[in-house]
């Protein structure tokens, strides 16, 4: 049975949105990382679909790089950095916005991004990838931003940043059908270095304050 292209695209879009909800729903670091890992795998899959349809080998390479770096290297790196931290500091016990409210807000943000894209792009003639993936990438961006500002744990900020980056990656891939490979590699290297730096900062933070609570950054050292 031949499954039409738009069905596959929609299914991957649904998967990306659901994994984003997974990050919002979960309370533990392992939960966020596994949701992020699923999201990256689906992202690599949708990139591969675009590559198959357009036939550029560079996009295949980008898909493989995404799979390796985002689904394997970055989660491993974060897990190994936080290994020495006590488990109770890896749980978001007291977020600024409660989990259930953040879920509802995320759903509204998804609605907002679909509304925005359909208001602005309804007249332009974009490809099927752009029409399917642009709202999704905007939702990833919004929800990642929301996760960053609404949680206390520094680990959550890193995961939020990674979601935003996934959204941007999807944005460029859907809109341009692949920028040149050099730039993709550069972006991925950037992200890797960014995660490494934030991991180092997390390590410093856990050594100094004995927790990842962002609120403790506001107090002076000698208080």
């Amino acid at each position: 049975m031949q499954i039409p292209l738009s069905e596959i695209l929609t299914l991957t879009a649904v998967g990306l949105l659901l994994s984003t909800f997974g990050v919002v729903l979960r309370r533990s670091f392992e939960g966020w990382l596994s949701a992020y890992r699923y999201q990256s795998i689906i992202l690599a899959g949708s990139t591969a679909v675009i590559a198959y349809e357009t036939g550029y080998w560079e996009i295949y390479a980008a898909a493989i790089l995404t799979l390796v770096i985002k689904a394997v290297v970055i989660p491993r790196l974060l897990v190994s950095v936080t290994e020495s931290v006590k488990d109770e500091f890896k749980i978001e016990a007291n977020p600024y916005v409660s989990i259930r409210l953040s879920l509802l807000i995320s759903a509204l943000l998804v609605a907002l991004s679909y509304g925005l894209i359909h208001e602005t792009l309804v007249s332009t003639s974009l490809g099927v990838y752009a029409l399917t993936y642009l709202p999704v990438s905007l939702s990833l961006f919004f929800v990642g931003l929301f996760v960053m500002v609404s949680r206390r744990m520094a680990l959550n900020q890193v995961v939020g940043l990674l979601i935003i980056e996934n959204g941007l990656f999807l944005f460029t891939t859907a809109l341009t059908q692949g920028v040149s490979l050099i730039i993709e590699v550069g972006i991925l290297a950037d992200i890797l270095v960014g995660v490494m730096i934030s991991a180092l900062l997390l390590l410093r933070m856990s050594q100094t304050f004995d927790s990842f609570d962002m609120a403790s950054l506001e107090s002076l050292k000698d208080d």
Binding site: V14, L103, A107, V110
Partner: protein, 315 residues
């Protein structure tokens, strides 16, 4: 097909629902036991339990009122009536001209309402705990349930259940994205409605965790048999509704199909419901019961996912 034959088919369907409901409970218990490396009782164990309960004497508290005594019958009758509205095995339900999916929800809510009253009626502390927990869950299930129904009704057209199941069967194997979101939220809601883990543990009598069991703790004998049978029927009907609406593969689109096709469709539904029940049992083995105040989180997932389903419908 003449209307008499169709009605006969609907009657047969109702009998089959009642006869097979305890078997489904048995299958779920068996799968759960095997996934936990236990041997488990035979899948026919619920039938033995029900027949034994039916023959046993009943103890009724002298402090209870007529509500306590009439509740099992009200629950059973409401569940039977709800089952008459739902096309389970064939795409036809005898009462479908008289009411739609909202009436089914109302009937199930009536049964639940009287169960809650009976829980308070005997004035035991456990009944009160169970009732207040049930009230909290059921009031939170409602918005998600209605949003899901909106998604399904908008996508398939109408709220008449026979029409909905027929439309789902016509849409074939390719599933609309809004229905995909509807499937996820409906699955969460079915777990909550039938009192499975993470919401409620049907296999426990520990006071800290029970919800439905706490409400019916005072019942014994024939009344308990009625309540358990109604619960099993509700479970079968809801799981079958999920299968018929969201995974309609093999279901003929109307009652006018040939007899072998209808039989094949009924067999397919049976198989799919059994597989779904096994999946629910797997989920129950995988997750622990959630803390009561985290239950709203999961129900909000259903609401949020159904909302996104609505967005996908309006694309």
């Amino acid at each position: 097909m003449t209307s008499f034959a169709a009605d006969l088919m609907g009657g047969l369907q109702l009998v089959a629902v009642f006869a097979l409901a305890p078997l489904l409970t048995g299958i779920m218990r068996k799968v759960k036991a095997r996934t936990q490396k236990r041997l488990g009782a035979s899948v026919f164990q619920p039938y033995y339990e029900l027949s034994k309960l039916w023959a046993k004497d009943e103890v009724v508290s002298e402090h209870s009122s007529w509500i306590f005594r009439s509740t099992p019958w009200i629950v059973a009758v409401a569940t039977i009536t709800a089952a008459l509205f739902i096309p389970v095995f064939v795409p036809f339900s005898p009462f479908s001209a008289a009411g739609d999916v909202l009436l089914v929800i109302g009937l199930l809510a009536l049964a639940r309402f009287f169960t809650m009253l009976a829980g308070i009626d005997a004035a035991s502390a456990f009944g009160g705990i169970g009732t207040s927990r049930e009230m909290m869950t059921s009031s939170l299930v409602e918005p998600g349930l209605f949003l899901t129904i909106f998604v399904v009704s908008l996508t398939l057209g109408g709220t008449n259940l026979t029409g909905l199941v027929g439309a789902a069967a016509r849409s074939g194997a390719v599933i609309a994205p809004s229905m995909l979101f509807g499937l996820i939220s409906f699955f969460v809601i079915v777990l909550a409605e039938t009192g499975r883990l993470p919401f409620d543990n049907p296999a426990t009598h520990l006071e800290l965790t029970m919800v439905h069991e706490a409400m019916v703790l005072e019942y014994s004998g024939r009344s308990l048999a009625l309540i358990e049978w109604s619960q099993a029927t509700k479970q079968l009907v809801l799981l079958a509704l999920l299968v018929d609406l969201f995974l309609p593969l093999g279901m003929p689109a109307s009652i006018n199909a040939s007899l072998p096709l209808l039989g094949l469709g009924a067999l397919a539904v049976l198989l799919k419901v059994a597989l779904l029940a096994a999946a629910v049992a797997f989920v129950e083995t995988r997750v622990a019961k959630w803390r009561l105040f985290r239950v709203p989180d999961l129900l909000v997932v259903a609401i949020a996912v159904a909302m996104v389903g609505m967005i996908f419908f309006y694309l």
